[in-house]
């Protein structure tokens, strides 16, 4: 892997991990709120 590809891959993977985790947690928060409003059960 040449250095340029390494740098691009490092940035892409890192940003994807952080934003992906943020999106996943935001969805989990929304679902938890929905569950809370509907009385805590499914």
């Amino acid at each position: 892997m040449n250095p340029e590809t390494s740098v691009i891959a490092a940035y892409a993977v890192s940003i994807a991990l952080m934003l992906g985790y943020a999106a996943w947690t935001a969805i989990a928060v929304r679902n938890a709120r929905r569950n809370e409003r509907s009385g805590g059960g499914k």
Partner: protein, 232 residues
């Protein structure tokens, strides 16, 4: 009020993503290539801010753990857990970017230098912290055990920081940057710290909602009756 909070959150995340995109453009097109290391040095603008954010996440977890042992407030335990989770994520990125850098700069993915070893130990300590939490059912006991462990785990942070100063290490002890490189570092640090703070708040919110739920946020598993029990 709730709608206002949603708009604020959307604005915060929008700004963070926009600043992150601007930082990437700055790194790619408007930052000079370092003479010795070449283009791979550009990983530094991501690696350092994420490493500093990791330390701050560990510090918050530590302070909340101390606070929990003193005051036994549930929100402190929730915040300690949220910070530990974010610390694991950020530390994973630090290790990953460090390995990519190491491969290009030193010709190997990994070397057992003091800083790298202590960084790996830090990651492992916080992974174990989350495993310990997941393995204890009683919330009070979980909080106390996790708080004690969280305080001990934090002791590795000064070791990571001081390792390059006190022990012979492959990492440089100090870095001198050109003004343009310093500016890039600042431009990159801002969205990364905002992203880390946003992740922490999101995770904390999820923890606090889970605590309010009667099942602790998890669906209660009903034991299924076995065929034998039904037959009897």
């Amino acid at each position: 009020m709730k709608q206002r909070n949603n708009i604020l959150a959307a604005g915060y995340w929008g700004l963070t993503v926009a600043l992150l995109a601007a930082a990437v453009v700055r790194v790619a097109y408007f930052t000079p290539v370092e003479a010795t290391m070449g283009i791979v040095q550009k990983i530094f603008y991501l690696h350092l801010p994420v490493a500093i954010s990791t330390f701050f996440a560990c510090l918050i977890s530590f302070l909340c753990s101390v606070g929990y042992l003193v005051q036994h407030r549930k929100w402190l335990d929730d915040l300690a857990e949220a910070s530990a989770r974010v610390a694991v994520l950020l530390c994973s990125i630090v290790l990953l970017t460090g390995m990519v850098w190491g491969r290009s700069a030193w010709g190997q993915w990994w070397t057992w230098s003091p800083r790298l070893t202590f960084s790996l130990v830090l990651w492992l300590l916080y992974v174990v912290y989350l495993m310990i939490r997941a393995s204890i059912e009683s919330s009070q006991r979980r909080g106390t055990v996790a708080a004690v462990y969280g305080i001990i785990a934090f002791l590795d942070v000064p070791l990571v920081y001081l390792s390059v100063k006190l022990l012979p290490d492959i990492h440089p002890t100090s870095i001198t940057l050109e003004p343009a490189m310093k500016l890039t570092l600042g431009i990159c640090a801002l969205p990364i710290v905002m992203l880390a703070a946003g992740l922490l708040v999101l995770r904390y919110r999820l923890n606090s909602i889970d605590q309010r739920m009667p099942t602790g946020g998890f669906e209660v598993m009903q034991p299924k009756r076995s065929l034998l029990a039904e037959a009897l």
